[in-house]
């Protein structure tokens, strides 16, 4: 039988690790990587749910997540390049000119 409950637990743990990554690491690359982890965890939860109900919908949503992740990474990394060119550093706290 499919370990659905454990699947959700695992996706929860992975998602939490992703959140920690985003909060802790100040390097922009690591933030992006943590976001990838969180996305992946979400995808896992969807697939687990699909598996539970025996419907393909879970996997279809995962596909959409994949597409979104791809687009997001491409744009994100392009921005990282731009930022690095501009600020010569990837530290998010340094790049904080947008202030109230």
């Amino acid at each position: 039988m499919f370990p659905i409950r454990e699947g959700f637990l695992l996706s929860g743990v992975l998602f939490t690790l992703g959140v920690i990554g985003v909060l802790v690491r100040r390097n922009l690359l690591f933030v992006l990587m943590s976001i990838e982890v969180m996305l992946n965890a979400a995808g896992l939860a969807f697939v687990a749910a699909g598996a539970r109900w025996g419907q393909p919908d879970g996997q279809v949503v995962f596909l959409f997540i994949l597409a979104m992740a791809a687009a997001e990474v491409s744009v994100g990394l392009a921005l990282v390049l731009e930022l690095y060119h501009q600020y010569k550093s990837l530290d998010t706290d340094a790049i904080s000119r947008m202030r109230g």
Binding site: G12, L32, M33, N40, G50, A51, W53, V60, L66, M68
Partner: protein, 174 residues
Amino acid sequence: MTIVFYTAGAVAIIATIMMLTRLDAVHALLHLIVSLLAVAVIFFVLGAPFVAALEVIIYAGAIMVLFVFVVMLLNLGAHAARAERALLTPSIWVGPAVLAAILLAEFIWLLASGNVPPSGAATIGPAEVGMALFGRYLIGVELASMLLLAGLVAAYHLGWRKIPQVEATHVSHP
């Protein structure tokens, strides 16, 4: 089957933790790839072979490679790792860790309270997924394609002029 699930799960978690704590971006990337592959295995265990394959091909294969490619392009060098260590003081872990712990507790609480009976439906192959994809979710597919197109155009627009100069300036000071 459950043994495979638990081992893959452990591998995924350990790989992710390792990713978080690495100072060098490339090491972190490699750990991330391992974690993604572990998740692919789990997909397989959950009876979703098509998605597992996709995970390996696209997620681990394409996106991570793109990541590695960009990291190489940035050519951070050793001093970046030293800078990372300055930022990663142990005290910085406390706040996020507490927050994450609460988040995890809430997940577990929600999972525990929810009555998810284990069910053993058959595996859902690519055929069913394909039919759903181009049946009910046709609009979703179109939107996804547009999203990808947007990502493509943005990446192209943001990056096309800068690449050569980065080469030039960077060489001057290692």
